[in-house]
Amino acid sequence: MKINKFDIETFKIASLCRNFEIKVFEAIRNKKIKIPVYLSGGQEYISATLSNIIKNNLKIKPLIFAQHRCHSTYLSFGGDKIKLIKELLGIKGGCTNSMGGSASIHSKEINMFGHDGHMGTQVPIGIGACFTSKKPTIIFMGDAAAEEDYVLGALGWASTKKLPILFIVEDNNLSILTEKKIRRNWDMHDVARSFKMKGYNLNDNPKEIFKYKKYFFKEPMLLNINTNRLFWHSGAGIDDPKIFDRFKNEKNKIGKKAKILDEKIKKNIDEIWKKQLEKL
């Protein structure tokens, strides 16, 4: 497989997210983090790929709306690592001043707006922000949040108004541990199409995601991206140790260069965490 600069850059972002989440995992296990935490490990290739396309390739700084399991979104789009550690540890100077914790991350610097804790509310709120500002907007949701009635109603309005929004469904097939097939018999990309917007179903392979770049922020579009959650819904644990891991897969594909980069990033993240943990 031919490895290009885009693959390497995406890997670097994903490695930052993965190594960060491993440290969060440890901090929960060691009881240094005492709040509910929603780890994004396993899903990081989605936000890493999108940020690489949007920030580096298209040179766009969008409005970002997300919900819980958004550490990777924040980190991928350039959120301050130390501020997030402080937020999780409850130290003064956190990105949400200790008010948001893991689930309601906010950053003025990267245009990421906090979340109120009700799944899916970021969809209508992000749509309203885009409608008024006309700025390119990216809205992340999970496959469960996508089922919220107000998400569906809001998608219809965004389509009617032809807003420059990229809707990303991070589809890990699970609502806590309830599988999608138990909850519904329909797919989000079909819903998007029925609302007369572009809708696609794909996996979290960065090359797959890249194909849709040409449509970003031209009109409303929804990408339902299938992925895997490595860790528990909340807290530090593993549901299925055999689950496919996109990060490991890409690391193996890239080979030696990825291993060296990953080691270097890991070392950096470890040091940053160590410094903050010493403050406790």
């Binding site: 949400t96 001043n97 008010m99 948001g100 309601s104 906010h106 003025k108 707006f113 906090g114 109120d116 804790g117 009700h118 509310t121 969809v123 209508p124 709120i125 992000g126 749509i127 309203g128 922000a129 885009c130 409608f131 008024t132 500002s133 009635d149 107000y150 998400v151 569906l152 109603g153 809001a154 219809g156 309005w157 009617t160």
Partner: protein, 303 residues
């Protein structure tokens, strides 16, 4: 020429759209009645934004607009619709400043009415907003009150819930408190009950009672002047508080606050604890002049 509350609101909205380049959101705004004649005949190009009928999502779209420093006006045609319209206003817009230091000011026009329109469209529902932090609640019933409230909102960065009532739309008059000391009883009135309270006071005074009257414009934070509190404190029988929402809504809560401050007994009247039906004989209306007079007399006759 004096203007009615209806004309005042319409002028404010027109100014908000044309001069301030703001936005007004709501459902069925540009329909036949133009929300009881309180909207100018303007359209989406002018900032009058028709939301879809997705009630909950609509509130979220307005909150998102407010995040972009828009100061939108959100029209809720019947206050009962708030059960589905307000979730993202109270859970997001009202909390945004406190959690993320990002103000999200929305001017919510909740419009009350009653009389043969059933359990959802009838009455005021400001109690829904009352328990949530970050919301200011007002109930203007006169042209000057409405102008003052809009002007305060434009200088402020909080969510305002403006509890309107269609019964006030034709009103041109301003109201005065009667807060002299040593009354027999003080009536404290909110929303449309202020009109009945004025009439009830007249009836009671004809019968020889000395009645004070306090009009509540600011529900949250509750604003009663020190003279008003003194009038309650010096009264013989305390106060009777009237509201157009259920009596188990804000009225009992406000009564408790006033009681703590004055050490006087505060009785309450509002909608009864029953569901309103569509027909007159099964309706649930705010306290009438007769009901207020009867309750006041009962209080006044207590030993």
């Amino acid at each position: 020429m004096e203007k009615t509350v209806r004309e005042t609101i319409k002028n404010i909205i027109k100014n908000h759209l044309t001069k301030k380049r703001g936005k007004v959101f709501g459902q069925c705004l540009t329909a036949v009645g133009w929300v009881g004649g309180t909207l100018p005949e303007l359209y989406e190009k002018d900032g009058m934004i028709e939301l879809s009928m997705a009630d909950v999502a609509g509130g979220g779209i307005v909150a998102g607009s407010a995040l972009m420093k828009e100061k939108p006006i959100y029209v809720i045609r019947y206050q009962g619709f708030n059960w589905y319209n307000c979730p993202m206003i109270v859970n997001y817009a009202a909390k945004s400043k406190e959690i993320w230091n990002i103000p999200c000011p929305v001017f919510v026009r909740g419009i009350g009415m009653e009389g043969g329109i059933g359990p959802v469209a009838g009455s005021s529902h400001h109690s829904l907003y009352y328990r949530m932090p970050g919301v200011k609640i007002v109930s203007p019933m006169t042209p000057i009150e409405y102008k003052k409230i809009y002007s305060e909102f434009m200088k402020d960065d909080d969510v305002y819930y403006v509890s309107e009532h269609r019964g006030s739309f034709n009103n041109k008059k301003e109201f005065q408190n009667n807060i002299s000391n040593n009354n027999d009883l003080v009536i404290i009135a909110i929303s449309i009950t202020r009109f009945a309270a004025i009439e009830a006071k007249k009836v009671l005074e004809k019968e020889g009672y000395k009645i004070g009257l306090i009009h509540i414009l600011w529900i949250k934070p509750l604003k009663i002047s020190s003279k008003g509190y003194k009038a309650i404190k010096t009264s013989k029988k305390g106060a009777l508080l009237l509201d157009d929402d259920y009596v188990d809504g804000i009225s009992n809560s406000i009564a408790n606050k006033i009681n703590i401050k004055t050490q006087k007994k505060i009785e309450t009247m509002g909608l009864k604890n029953k569901t309103a039906g569509a027909h007159k004989n099964v309706d649930n209306l705010p306290p009438s002049v007769k009901e207020i007079v009867n309750k006041a007399k009962r209080i006044l006759s207590e030993k």
